[in-house]
């Protein structure tokens, strides 16, 4: 077990290095220039652009640029090309903005999807199963951003209440309880819209996994023992159906730095997804790189954790 963890750790760090080199290369090969040195900006003269390029090391060979990025990142002195702000601080503040949304969405998805999927599987072919299947596929195929627009338009028109942004505008003088509740309200729409698609997808997985399990012999045995139906389903069946979800849960982690570009843009939510998106638009290499590398690192950590969790959840699996 420990040997496995150790070996895996080394491998993953090496992999992370390779990934970071790849990302670095791809970003620099892609067309376009950082906005600070954009030659088509009429406010900038070629001499000034040359000066800024030199300061950003943009004309150095790629491997040197990579080395500059890495040393700056490790010493914590990495600065954004866009506004010279420290990259880590920027990412941290945006992370705090994205976190509540992430927590709410994840909670909704990972709680609701199970009872819905399980009930559909157990009562296969019933009205509930068919309705939930229909709704789930409708949610999966319906573009989330269109739904977001429709909801925004309807809610604004019907309730005359602001829905976009982190908070209502002009509430500085309100008491802190009102401010807190206001922040909560602004979570509602993006969290639900974000969760709907997730619930739809995940409940389908739960349903199919459960379908495989509910007809097994040991379920019949459990029922024959006279156990309550809920105990049969939620203890005996669910545990055996859970394994694939460990992998999926592990892959949740990178979502922490990915945010959601589309919903954050529509809802004017200043989260990580938008930070990354705007960084790409303005070719803010340090931010794009750092975010991507964090994403890659979290993916690696996530899959690692799920590997370990497999062993914990299923005694038949051994890590060697």
């Amino acid at each position: 077990m420990w040997a496995f963890i150790g070996r895996n750790l080394v491998l993953r760090i090496a992999l992370l290095f390779v990934v970071s080199v790849l990302i670095h290369t791809i970003i620099h090969i892609a067309p376009g220039e950082p906005s600070q040195v954009d030659p088509s900006n009429p406010r900038m003269k070629p001499e000034d652009i040359a000066k800024i390029r030199a300061a950003f090391h943009l004309d150095d060979p790629l491997y040197l640029q990579y080395a500059y990025w890495l040393t700056d990142l490790l010493t914590g002195e990495l600065k954004s090309f866009k506004d010279n702000q420290p990259v880590l601080g920027k990412i941290w503040r945006r992370f705090l903005n994205s976190l509540p949304l992430f927590v709410c969405t994840t909670l909704l998805v990972w709680t609701l999807a199970f009872p819905v999927g399980i009930h559909a599987a157990v009562t296969r072919g019933s009205m509930f199963d068919r309705t939930s299947t229909f709704l789930a596929y409708a949610m999966i195929s319906f573009p989330g951003f269109v739904l977001a627009y429709i909801l925004i338009l309807e809610i604004v028109q019907f309730f005359e209440i602001p829905v976009i942004g982190l908070r209502t505008f002009g509430m500085e003088s309100a008491s802190s309880l009102f401010k807190f509740m206001d922040r909560i309200w602004h979570l509602v729409l993006p969290a639900f819209v974000g969760a709907l698609g997730g619930i739809a997808v995940l409940s389908r997985y739960v349903r199919s996994q459960m379908l495989e399990v509910v007809n097994q012999d040991y379920i019949r045995t459990a029922r024959a023992k006279g156990l309550e139906e809920d105990t049969v389903i939620y203890r005996h069946a669910l545990r055996n159906a859970l394994l694939p979800f460990i992998t999926m849960f592990g892959l949740l982690l990178p979502g922490l730095v990915g945010g959601s570009v589309i919903f954050e843009t529509i809802f004017a939510w200043p989260g990580l997804g938008r930070l990354g998106f705007e960084a790409i638009l303005s070719r803010d290499f340090p931010v794009i790189l750092t975010l991507n590398v964090f994403g890659a690192a979290l993916t690696l950590v996530g899959t690692f954790v799920s590997d370990v969790l497999y062993a914990v959840a299923d005694p038949r699996i051994r890590l060697e």
């Binding site: 001499e47 505008f169 309200w185 939620y234 843009t265």
Partner: protein, 708 residues
């Protein structure tokens, strides 16, 4: 089963908790009507966030908007685009002119030149009335003794190695005559020709006055020679601007503004550590002198009248950004040695908490959320009517419109088709104003096919521009005839646009020997009139112009092939190399009359802006005269001449200037305070220059919709 219950209860409780928050949130109604603060709050919606709130560093529109509210320049542009004093109450422009005494030369009568003789002869001529034109302009003449000076030039190292080498050259500056002139006169030295002779200005033996360090190649010496000639011309114009600063102006932290801040701002721009994108604007400055705390003298290296426009840039507070302040900031932030070494103004926290002298002071900035400014009560021009200014960052166009219609945003960049909708809505006022841009078809003047101005004229006459404006731009455009923005005084309104006359165009081409062949194409010497018209991908209007032009030219028998290229490819492979026949493009112009970069024949090389290769010695001469002229009326007359000249040459087919559109709530008006304490309201109007924000200080939102 507890697990089942948990899985159901948790989301239920979470949902209930989330939804109950609805009851705590104020409605839009409450925000806008029930809240008197809202009437003195202006909220602007912006797609993108600002980047750096520093007048010498920013290079994006959102930052520029905020910086213009927080900082004041010495000057700005008034309603008619004339310069107007802000932090400077007024200014005077005069000149010091220097003439090197060249002992190799002889006067026209054969006498050898010495400093004393030169001075005496000019004085006598002035007395005798020989130099009548110059006489009234000369305030004083002095003979300066020779001086030794060491000047550092940076030399580019040989090809292959990057980096520069600093070389100290010791110069023995010979005797010089210094003329103090009342006003700038670009022909001053020409006026002295009767005394000094017409060959005096042509040659000067610099090599005798330079001492090099050892170890320079002859190539480098030749190069340095040219640099010294540039640094120390035989005849030098040094325009001087004396700025008289406004007294009692305070920065938002209470510190008083004075001449030190002006000098500091200039030095900050020129400091290579700060990586300012404005260095080229301030490069013509030789030095800045502080005469007293409220008087600054700016001395320029050469005649370049547009240089004064650079002073519309915001002035920085010296006390917050000078070396000691930077040291303090580095100490406070506990920066490492490496970070300290590279620390420039770009890294300072000032850029996120700017302090200026402007109408609004900075309060807070939540990245990608909003920037909050509050009116500065001690503003020298009196406080603004709006108490708060917000720039809300809403990255999505549709949600911007939702917020605008709900009243949570007062202004956003509405698209032309949206403006058309708002025009019918009685709650809003909309504006269509001229900007500084225009669109054109540029012909590669180097190509024999387009070498004849009459051919270019014929091509222009074949295109129906009015149709383009009506159908492509929904009417949001105006015809133009020349190279200047239509709302500047440089534009000559008496020049009439080319008529739409396909038959006339055909006639013109037939006169030039082009005849219709059997296939319906114009043909001359066995070749048909055929060329490629290209533009960049991603601009639907330009793409449509391609088709319209192609079709219009087909009607007169001209065969045109069109193609779109991705922007980077378009520039790199076609425009920058000059390898194209004709392009559809647009310019966004400045407010000064200087057209050197776009139209001067010296700027037609690769990567340069005169990519159509326009070359007319008369135009070259006018362009140079305009940028060296300091008298605005003369400048305007010259600009009109230039406009007409370029119009007659038709190097471009000038198409149209697009109008920019804006929509505001009708409740926002201009507020005037009458002496008797009442208020008078006026409708917001765009100035002649197309700026609706000119009177932003007077804007306020009323509780009712006024009728005008």
């Amino acid at each position: 089963m507890p697990l089942k219950r948990a899985l159901l209860l948790a989301p239920l409780l979470l949902t209930l908790f989330l939804l109950q928050s609805y009851f705590w949130v104020p409605t839009y109604e409450k925000q806008s009507v029930g809240n008197p603060e809202r009437l003195v709050t202006y909220i602007e919606g912006s797609i993108g966030d600002a980047k750096i709130l520093n007048p010498i560093l920013h290079a994006d529109t959102a930052s520029a908007t905020i910086v213009n509210h927080v900082f004041d320049g010495l000057l700005d542009l008034d309603e008619n685009l004339n310069l107007r004093g802000r932090l400077a109450t007024h200014w005077t422009i005069s000149e010091k002119a220097y003439l090197l005494v060249n002992p190799d030369n002889r006067f026209p009568d054969g006498v050898e030149v010495t400093g004393e003789r030169l001075l005496a002869r000019i004085r006598r001529a002035l007395k005798d009335g020989v130099l009548s034109e110059a006489a009234s302009n000369i305030l004083s003449i002095e003979l300066l003794p020779p001086e030794r000076q060491t000047h550092t030039f940076s030399l580019d190292e040989k090809a292959g190695t990057s980096g520069t080498r600093e070389v100290d050259v010791t110069l023995t500056i010979p005797e010089r005559l210094r003329f103090t002139l009342r006003e700038v006169d670009q022909d001053f030295f020409k006026r002295l020709v009767p005394i000094i002779g017409d060959r005096y200005l042509l040659h000067f033996p610099y090599e005798r006055y330079m001492e090099f360090p050892d170890g320079l190649t002859s190539e480098q010496k030749t190069h340095l020679h040219a640099r010294v000639a540039e640094y120390l011309p035989v005849a030098e114009h040094n325009p001087e601007i004396l700025f008289f600063l406004r007294k009692g102006v305070k920065f938002h932290d209470g510190h008083e503004f004075d001449a030190g801040d002006v000098k500091f701002t200039y030095e900050a721009i020129m400091n290579p550590k700060n990586l300012s994108p404005r260095t080229s604007d301030f490069e013509p400055i030789k030095y800045i002198d502080i005469l007293d705390p409220y008087t600054v003298r700016v001395v320029y290296k050469r005649l370049f009248s547009p240089a004064i426009n650079a002073w519309t840039m915001g002035i920085l507070p010296e006390h917050l950004l000078n070396d000691e302040a930077m040291q303090r900031e580095m100490d406070r932030r506990g920066l490492s040695e490496a970070a300290r070494a590279a620390f420039g103004m770009r890294d300072s926290e000032f850029n996120r908490h700017p302090i200026g002298t402007g109408r609004f002071r900075f309060i807070e900035w939540h990245s990608d959320e909003f920037i909050h400014l509050e009116r500065f009560e001690d503003y020298w021009e009196g406080p603004a009517e709006f108490k708060h200014y917000y720039m809300r960052i809403i990255p999505d166009l549709l949600t911007q419109e939702v917020e605008f219609r709900a009243g949570a945003v007062d202004y956003y960049g509405a698209q032309p088709h949206q403006v058309a909708r708002y025009k019918k809505d009685p709650r809003y006022q909309s504006f269509s104003t001229l900007g500084f841009g225009y669109t054109y078809i540029g012909y590669n003047n180097r190509r024999p096919l387009f070498a004849d101005p009459e051919v270019r004229r014929a091509l222009g006459m074949a295109i129906n521009v009015d149709e383009i404006i009506t159908y492509l731009l929904y009417g949001e455009g105006e015809r133009i005839t020349g190279p200047y923005p239509k709302n500047t005084p440089w534009y000559d309104h008496s020049v009439q646009p080319l008529p739409y006359d396909p038959a006339g165009a055909r006639r013109l081409l037939e006169e030039r020997g082009w005849t219709l062949n059997a296939d319906g194409w114009l043909e001359k010497d066995g070749k048909i009139f055929e060329f490629n018209l290209i533009t960049n991908n991603g601009n639907p209007i330009r793409k449509n112009i391609l088709t319209i032009a192609q079709n219009a030219w087909k009607k007169i028998g001209v065969k045109c092939n069109t193609q779109l290229f991705e922007w980077a490819v378009f520039l790199k492979d076609f425009v920058n190399t000059g390898e194209f026949d004709a392009v559809v493009l647009g310019w966004s112009m400045g407010i000064d009359p200087d057209l050197y970069q776009i139209w001067h024949s010296s700027q037609a090389g690769p990567q340069q802006l005169n990519f159509v290769g326009y070359n007319n010695p008369k135009a070259d001469d006018l362009i140079v005269r305009i940028r060296r002229e300091y008298n605005r009326e003369v400048q305007q007359a010259l600009a009109h001449q230039l406009h007409r000249l370029i119009y007659e040459d038709q190097p471009y087919t000038f198409l149209y200037a697009p109008l920019s559109t804006a929509v505001l709530d009708k409740k926002i008006v201009l507020v005037y305070h009458e002496p008797d304490g009442t208020e008078r309201y006026e409708k917001i109007y765009p100035t002649k220059s197309g700026n609706i924000y000119f009177h932003f200080g007077r804007w306020r939102k009323l509780a009712f919709t006024p009728e005008f």
